[in-house]
């Protein structure tokens, strides 16, 4: 049952996902519940964006076994960066994506140098306290500067809807999803085919041997941290475009969801994270439909618990890994 090469793994993952989705969508439309397909599409979009937000968290955890509790805050900072650039300098959010990346990458660099590299060797506890403290500090900073009201980056084209088949969707969300998917595909290529990507995978699987064959694991940690902080910024910008945000949802929502998706998708697999994201997105949209909006964050929690209880190694088990 064990597939022997990457291509087969990739194909297997993709076909499972695609087939399940297609069957679901077709059944739903066939039975005349076209409106359910609408929610379905929204759920997939939500899931794709959650996946982009979760990848940096999973990457850091995979490479360094570091539970970055400030992850949610980094995302929201990215959202605010793009928001303010748009409001003050009229910079289109798509254009500000690389700026958001750069800013958060810089923040990540400082975070790593000042905090993470110093206490990483000591143990798990100080890193949890430190990242938690940073999360608090960042949240407080944002509350102070930006106030607590929810915001969204509303461009002139944000309200446009497009119809794809029986479904009407906000155009902005579709484009954001496409951007997210493109980024994830690029990341996967980066992870699988570049030396840096290989080194990251090696370090995550066995850091001691990685050192022995010539990989500078410290450097890998630092570069991964910078990359993933930047990615969090990009995720934040995308979220800001597609949905609303405010300072407190970093810790409350996005951190928890990233953890849930990471467990669900398996630490090492971008494909798994995409699948996990879609599962969560669909669960949230349909859960909110049937149970009411207040339960949205609770759904992530439930999924996390279910994932840990039944499939601790992730949806695709040990087969799918970085």
């Amino acid at each position: 049952m064990v597939p022997k090469s990457y291509d087969k793994i990739r194909a297997k993952q993709a076909t499972i996902i695609a087939v399940l989705l297609a069957i679901l969508a077709l059944t739903i439309s066939y039975f005349g519940y076209g409106w359910l397909t609408q929610f379905f599409a929204l759920g997939v979009i939500l899931g794709g964006i959650y996946a982009v937000a979760a990848i940096p968290f999973a990457w850091i955890y995979g490479v360094m076994r570091f539970f970055n509790l400030a992850h949610g805050e980094l995302i929201i900072v990215g959202a605010y960066v793009s928001y303010w650039l748009f409001v003050i300098a009229q910079i289109d959010p798509f254009v500000s994506l690389p700026l958001s990346f750069a800013f958060l990458a810089a923040v990540g660099f400082i975070y790593y140098k000042v905090i993470v590299s110093r206490i990483r060797k000591v143990g798990v506890n100080p890193t949890l306290v430190a990242s938690f403290g940073l999360a608090f500090a960042l949240q407080g900073l944002m509350l102070l500067i930006c106030r607590a009201d929810p915001r969204a980056i509303l461009t002139p084209y944000s309200k446009v809807g497009i119809s794809i088949g029986p479904v009407v969707l906000p155009l902005i969300r579709v484009i954001v999803l496409l951007v997210a998917v493109t980024i994830m595909i690029l990341l996967r290529y980066f992870l699988m085919r570049t030396f840096f990507g290989r080194a990251c995978r090696a370090v995550s699987q066995d850091w001691e041997v990685s050192e022995m064959i010539g990989i500078n694991s410290e450097r890998i940690y630092m570069l991964s941290f910078i990359l993933c902080s930047g990615l969090a910024g990009i995720a934040g910008t995308l979220i800001g475009m597609a949905y609303s945000f405010e300072p407190t949802i970093g810790l409350r929502a996005y951190l928890l969801k990233s953890i849930a998706i990471t467990v669900l998708g398996g630490v090492g697999s971008i494909g798994g994270i995409i699948a996990g994201g879609i599962v969560l997105g669909l669960a949230e949209v349909f859960g909110a439909l049937f149970l009411g909006g207040g339960y949205r964050d609770a759904i992530a929690f439930i999924i996390l618990i279910l994932a840990i209880s039944f499939k601790p190694t992730g949806l695709f088990g040990k087969v799918a890994h970085l």
């Binding site: 000591v122 100080p126 890193t127 306290v129 430190a130 940073l134 500090a137 407080g140 618990i305 840990i308």
Partner: protein
């Protein structure tokens, strides 16, 4: 070995501290808020010390403490009318232990997954209570107001509770139980391989944690006179704050929880009272600074200083 002089010094110091603590309600009779804060401090010391037993010495990153606290609080609320007061507290502890058994299936997981699994417990109970009117539902329950209501009558029980918790955890740690517990906390696999039944120690240490946390919850409820699911099972206040206090003060030490609670609460109230706008930021930054410069917790620095003072002889 500690010399006779040292022993006397410590004894005098402890007695003086106790005397001071006992007289607090009288010293601050016109500022009941101060007495309340110290009451709260003792509650937190209890929570920190009891968590440190299973989590620090035993190495079990158990995040269900809010459930233990809340179980004790709700027991107090439900039984206050029918059961004599101090007995109620004990029942609160027992109820918390009973609730904690739900966590047992999680013990087959390791590290992070175990921690996340334990997070469920407070949420589950919260949901159950919200949906059952006889338990007060989302609105919560009120406790009967006693005829003599003043902070002092809660202050002393909390002081005694903190002292008992510390004493009992101290005795347990020094016993053979504590020896095996720490072995497990050091290295679970190694402990298993030399024949320590880790599951037994995991469960029993959690019971100790739950018991004292439950009593603390019951005591707190009997003062606040009101229990409500979101407040009684609030993870931030009753799980995470005590854990941070332990990490601050020094995990796996006896004075760690005490020092950590004092410093944490001191910082918290100073910051939130005087710097409300910036409080989150400063508080967060302080946590970062402490984690970076004092990763072993504050008690490690203090021990170091004491050793230096004593000179070359030890």
């Amino acid at each position: 070995m500690v010399g006779v002089k040292e022993a006397w010094k410590t004894a005098v110091g402890v007695v003086a501290a106790l005397f001071l603590l006992v007289s607090v309600p009288f010293l601050f009779s016109s500022y009941p808020f101060v007495t309340y804060i110290i009451f709260l401090l003792f509650i937190y010391i209890t929570l920190a010390a009891s968590w440190n037993f299973a989590g620090g010495y035993g190495g079990q990153m158990n995040l269900a403490q809010a459930a233990f606290f809340g179980a004790g609080a709700y027991t107090q609320a439900l039984l206050a009318k029918t059961v004599p007061p101090y007995f109620c507290l004990l029942l609160g502890g027992v109820a918390a232990v009973a609730i904690s058994t739900i966590v047992i299936p999680c013990f087959r997981f390791r590290g992070t997954y175990f921690a996340i699994g334990t997070l469920v417990l407070p949420e589950i109970i919260k949901v159950i209570i919200i949906n059952r009117e006889e338990l007060g539902g989302a609105g919560g329950l009120h406790l009967p107001v006693p005829t003599q209501y003043q902070i002092a009558s809660y202050y002393y029980p909390s002081l005694i509770l903190a002292l008992i918790t510390i004493l009992i955890t101290y005795l347990l740690i020094r016993s053979s139980f504590g020896y095996s517990l720490q072995a497990m906390g050091d290295d679970e696999d190694a402990a298993e391989s030399i024949g320590i039944a880790t599951l037994k120690y995991k469960i029993l240490s959690m019971f100790v944690n739950a018991f004292f946390a439950g009593i603390a919850g019951a005591l707190y409820a009997s003062y606040i006179l009101y229990v409500q699911p979101y407040q009684a099972f609030d993870m931030v206040n009753w799980t995470f704050y005590p854990i941070f206090m332990v990490l601050l003060g020094g995990i796996r030490t006896m004075k760690g929880p005490i020092l950590g609670s004092i410093i944490f609460m001191g910082l918290y109230y100073v910051i939130t009272l005087y710097l409300t706008e910036l409080s989150l930021i400063i508080f967060g930054l302080l946590l970062v600074v402490i984690a970076v410069f004092l990763p072993e917790g504050i008690s490690s620095k203090i021990t170091f200083k004491m050793r230096e003072k004593k000179g070359s002889g030890s």
